[in-house]
Symmetry: C2
Subunit: 258 residues, 2 copies
């Protein structure tokens, strides 16, 4: 097991790592995909190291494929974290767990791996937009769990991962007019309220129902389909889908929602 790890890190660019804030939307809540490390009581973002000769986007793409089963996910690089204070030991992570894991390593592997994990890491962070319903969260070798966690109920996180999530979210908020939010996060067909709740949870702000509906329709990117019978004792809402040609065009120049 440590041999596998050793061979991996020897193929990678030293001091460089990657992290990805994978955002999804489920039950009217914005969620982030997290991994629970086996020997720790802390969670972490999916990520990895950068193999020599590979592009960062490519590596993130592979990680996402492994953790969710999805290809061609929408990705955006948002910041590189390089502070000298972002080491493993300064946070909520249990040193104990790591030591236990380390005790299973061979002496030869320890030399390489200790040096690897003690170096200063410069981590480039991406965020991804994903449809929760299409993804199948899958833990990796060092994790016992992979799960969608609401962004407002974050557990203990390793390193500066909590900061990364928070900064990814503010980036999302700032760039909301330029990002294909609805297209990436919702199912192909959705109700107007779905779309409104999505924007509300990103902006962290209530929007007027009537105005939102009219505004969206006026943009000319939504096509109306059959009604959705929910079984509730109220009028059934229409389902809508996004006209991708118009949408992609509008996104470039920026759509104003709010």
């Amino acid at each position: 097991m440590s041999k596998f790890l050793r061979e991996l890190v020897e193929k990678c660019v030293p001091g460089v790592s990657l992290d990805c804030v994978v955002l999804g939307y489920q039950n009217n809540v914005l969620k982030v995909l997290l991994l629970k490390y086996k020997e720790h009581n802390a969670w972490a973002l999916p990520g990895g190291f950068l193999p020599q000769g590979q592009e960062m986007e490519e590596v993130i793409g592979l990680v996402l494929k492994e953790r969710t089963g999805l290809d061609g996910v929408y990705l955006e690089q948002f910041k590189t974290y390089s502070s000298i204070n972002r080491g493993w030991n300064c946070n909520e992570i249990s040193q104990e767990g790591f030591n236990k894991l380390r005790s299973t390593w061979s002496t030869a592997d320890r030399t390489v791996l200790d040096q690897w994990f003690n170096q200063r890491f410069i981590s480039t962070a991406y965020f991804a937009l994903i449809n929760c319903n299409k993804a199948e969260p899958t833990p990796d070798a060092v994790s016992e769990e992979c799960a969608w966690v609401p962004v407002n109920e974050l557990p203990n996180l390793v390193l500066d991962h909590k900061k990364m999530i928070s900064e990814a979210l503010s980036q999302l908020k700032r760039q909301i007019n330029f990002l294909p939010i609805g297209k990436e996060l919702l199912d192909q067909k959705f109700t107007m309220l779905d779309l409104q709740r999505l924007y509300e949870s990103i902006l962290d702000q209530k929007l007027d129902r009537g105005n939102f509906q009219r505004k969206m329709m006026k943009l000319g990117i939504l096509t109306r389909h059959e009604k959705l019978m929910t079984g509730a004792q109220n009028k059934a809402p229409y389902l809508y889908s996004i006209d991708l040609k118009v949408y992609d065009q509008l996104i470039k120049t920026g759509i104003s929602f709010v």
Copy 2:
């Protein structure tokens, strides 16, 4: 000379570099600070390597201090460039010049430096906002010139520096409502037309004079001072300055200009 370089790189994080798109505003044109390399017919962004144990922002700050004489410059990290195709040899740069320089190196230094310059570099890019009138462009040891160049008249640039500038500018445009543009790029006192031309050159778009004036005044961040007698045969414009307390507050939530 090569000994100095060798000692420098041995103190730095391998494979990591920094670049800074220093933006200024002069004679109604947006300009970027560039260095002309001695042995090359190409220009480059100011930048450097990352010494062990130092923060990126700190290093960029030192570079800016050396190139412009200024402290406490407004800085924003905008992207990390890591492509495997961003090597030195694939661009407009003259290999000849580098070989000439390299021939002056001792054999011992060559071993270290060849390896250093042949490795894959991952470069984190920042942009800075500077008042041209306060800065004194100063070349570094490997450059023969340091100058403000209009962003619309860029010369040959090394590596992917042209792309960096272009992406810094689009970042500036996108984030215009959240950046202290006027505060950082203009003198303490300026005319309304100065401010308007500045926004026009960032947005690459003409704005209506009357509407711009009224909008700016209504924001409540400008205080009017004495008139500026230019000697021209027309009405003298007022000088304005920015009320920093109100400004900083507004910038956080985002000011809409246009």
